[in-house]
C-alpha cells in the first residue's frame, strides 16, 4: 500500500430517487421524479430494440392488470411492458370478474392479493378508485386511468415522446385541443407539463374547456388559431362521445369546422411542431388523415414509447422498499 491520502473528493450530486409505493397520478410526483422516469424509459426503449426483447428485472414478480373499463391499447401496453421485464401477468376485466356478481372492489383486490401479487395496474370508471385501494392493499398500484381524474402513464409517455422529438420543456408551447373536461389524459398532461415548465394552452368549445382549468396554470381559449399560433406541440384529444351525457356540442360537424386540426390550420404552429393524440383517434374529427399520417404525427411513437415508459414505472415501483 502506498501513502495514505486525506483528500476529500467531490461526489456527483445525488440523482433523483423514486420513493412512491404507488403511481396514482402526477399531482404528487416532482419534476425530478418525472425526469427520472423519462431517463429510465430511454434505457428501457433500447431493450425493445434488441433481438431478445426481455430483461429479467421483474423475474418472479406478478403484475395484475385489473381493468374495470374497456381498454385494449393501455392494457396491452402494460402487458407487453411487464412481460419484457420477465414478470408474470394476469389480465382481469370487469366483465369476467366477480364484480359482476356483486363483489366489492376491496374484496376483489384482497382475493388477488391472496395470490401474493406484487403490482396492480388498475383502470376504473370512478375517479379516485386507485387512491381508495392504495389505503387498503399491500401491492403497489399503478393508476391506468381513473374516471375523469388522471392517467399518469399516458402523460409520462407523452412527455417522453416530446423529449424524444427534441423538445425542451422549459417554455415549450403545448396546445391541448378538444374534449378537455372529460379527459384524464389532459389533466395528467397539464400537471406534468406544468412541473417541467411548459406553457399550456387549452382549446375547445367553452362547454368542454371550463374556466376552472385555468387553476391548473393553463391558458384557455376557444379560438383554434390562437392555440396553434407558434405551438411546439399540438395535442389533439379524442372526442369522448361515450362520456358526454349532456349536449356539449351543437353538432360534430361544427366541432370539426371550428376545432378540427387540418394541414392548412397547422401552418400556424411552428414549422417543426409535432402532432400528438392519445388514441384511438377519430379521423376527420379531431384531425384529418393528412395530419395523422404526416411526418409531424407522433401518434405511433406514443404507442411505442408507452411500453418503455410503463417498463420504467413498473421497474421503479418494484424497486421501492
Amino acid at each position: 500500500m502506498t501513502a495514505a491520502t486525506k483528500s476529500k473528493r467531490s461526489e456527483p450530486p445525488p440523482a433523483a430517487k423514486w420513493t412512491h409505493r404507488h403511481l396514482l397520478g402526477l399531482e404528487d410526483v416532482s419534476a425530478d421524479e418525472i425526469r427520472l422516469v423519462l431517463d429510465h424509459a430511454r434505457h428501457f426503449k433500447e431493450v425493445s430494440t434488441r433481438d431478445i426483447k426481455k430483461v429479467p428485472a421483474l423475474r418472479g414478480k406478478t403484475v395484475v392488470n385489473l381493468f374495470f373499463e374497456a381498454s385494449t391499447r393501455t392494457r396491452t401496453s402494460f402487458e407487453v411492458a411487464a412481460k419484457r421485464l420477465s414478470a408474470d401477468v394476469l389480465n382481469i376485466t370487469a366483465s369476467g370478474s366477480s364484480v359482476t356478481k356483486g363483489e366489492t372492489l376491496i374484496d376483489t383486490v384482497h382475493t388477488l392479493e391472496a395470490y401474493r401479487i406484487d403490482i396492480l395496474v388498475m383502470r376504473h370508471a370512478a375517479s379516485g378508485a386507485p387512491h381508495f385501494l392504495s389505503r387498503h392493499c399491500t401491492s403497489r398500484i399503478v393508476n391506468a386511468g381513473d374516471g375523469m381524474h388522471e392517467h399518469p402513464t399516458q402523460a409520462l409517455l407523452d412527455l417522453f415522446t416530446m423529449q424524444e422529438r427534441g423538445k425542451s420543456f422549459d417554455g415549450l408551447k403545448v396546445a391541448i385541443i378538444g374534449d378537455i373536461i372529460h379527459s384524464r389524459v389532459a389533466r395528467s398532461d397539464i400537471l406534468g407539463l406544468n412541473k417541467l415548465g411548459a406553457h399550456i394552452v387549452l382549446c375547445g368549445p367553452p362547454t368542454l374547456v371550463p374556466k376552472r382549468f385555468e387553476e391548473f396554470g393553463a391558458q384557455r381559449t376557444t379560438r383554434l388559431d390562437e392555440a396553434l399560433d407558434g405551438a411546439d406541440v399540438v395535442y389533439c384529444l379524442r372526442m369522448q362521445f361515450e362520456r358526454q351525457q349532456a349536449n356539449f356540442l351543437p353538432s360534430v360537424d361544427e366541432y370539426v369546422r371550428l376545432f378540427g386540426v387540418t394541414a392548412e390550420r397547422l401552418k400556424r404552429a411552428k414549422p417543426d411542431a409535432i402532432v400528438m393524440h392519445p388514441g384511438p383517434l377519430n379521423r376527420g374529427i379531431e384531425l384529418t388523415s393528412e395530419v395523422a399520417d404526416s411526418a409531424r404525427s407522433a401518434v405511433l411513437d406514443q404507442v411505442t414509447n408507452g411500453v418503455a415508459v410503463r417498463m420504467a414505472v413498473l421497474f421503479l415501483l418494484a424497486g421501492v422498499n
Binding site: T2, A4, T5, K6, W18, H43, V55, P56, A57, G319
Partner: protein, 180 residues
C-alpha cells in the same frame, strides 16, 4: 473513514499495460477480441485496454458498454436505487472472444449479471474476465482471468477506483472505518 491510496496514476498505467499484455498472451487471434466494459468505470478501463492492445500488437479490439442494472438479482432489496446506464455494442458478439472489463471484483454478482446480459445479445465463442482490483469475498464461483492487483480486504472496507474520465484522477483508494 481512513483513506489509503493503493494505486496512483503511474502504477495504474503500468498495471493496465500489463493486463493488456496478459490478455494478448491468452488470445491467439487478437483480431477476434472484443472488450465489454461494465458501466460505469469498466467502460473507460475497457477503452484504455483496447488502446493498450493496439499499442502492443497493432490491432484495436472493439469496445462495448454494458449496463447490468436490469439483470441484478437484488431489485427491491437494495437500499439505494440502481442508476441505469446505457448498453451499447458496436459489434456483433457472436463468435467473438470477449473480455469483460470491470474495476473491482467483489461478490461476483455483477459478473453473473453481465454474463446473463451478454447472452441476451449474442453467443460469444469465449468470455474472459479482466478486473483492475480483486478484493475477494466472492459469493459465486467466479474468478478473473486477468487481475491488475489482488487486494485482501475486510467486509466493512470499500475499494474505489477513480478514473480520469469519470473522477478527474487516476487512483485506487481503500476506505477503512476508523474503528478497525
Amino acid at each position: 473513514m481512513i483513506q489509503v491510496q493503493l494505486i496512483d496514476a503511474t502504477q495504474m498505467y503500468r498495471t493496465l499495460m500489463r493486463m493488456a499484455h496478459e490478455i494478448i498472451e491468452k488470445q491467439a487471434d487478437v483480431g477476434a477480441l472484443g472488450l465489454v466494459g461494465i458501466q460505469t468505470r469498466g467502460v473507460p478501463l475497457a477503452r484504455r485496454t483496447a488502446a493498450n492492445v493496439l499499442a502492443v500488437c497493432g490491432i484495436e479490439p472493439p469496445v462495448g458498454e454494458l449496463d447490468i442494472t436490469f439483470y441484478r438479482d437484488d431489485l427491491g432489496a437494495r437500499l439505494d436505487q440502481p442508476e441505469v446506464k446505457s448498453t451499447h455494442f458496436g459489434f456483433d458478439l457472436t463468435d467473438r472472444d470477449l473480455v469483460i472489463v470491470d474495476d473491482v471484483l467483489f461478490t461476483g454478482r455483477t459478473i453473473r449479471a453481465a454474463l446473463d446480459a451478454i447472452m441476451d445479445f449474442g453467443r460469444p465463442r469465449r468470455i474472459m474476465l479482466a478486473v483492475l482490483i480483486d478484493r475477494g469475498h466472492r459469493e459465486l464461483p467466479i474468478r478473473a482471468d486477468v487481475v491488475g492487483k489482488n487486494v485482501p480486504t475486510g467486509r466493512n472496507e470499500n475499494v474505489r477506483v477513480h478514473l480520469a474520465e469519470v473522477d478527474g484522477v487516476d487512483e485506487v483508494v481503500l476506505y477503512r472505518p476508523e474503528s478497525t
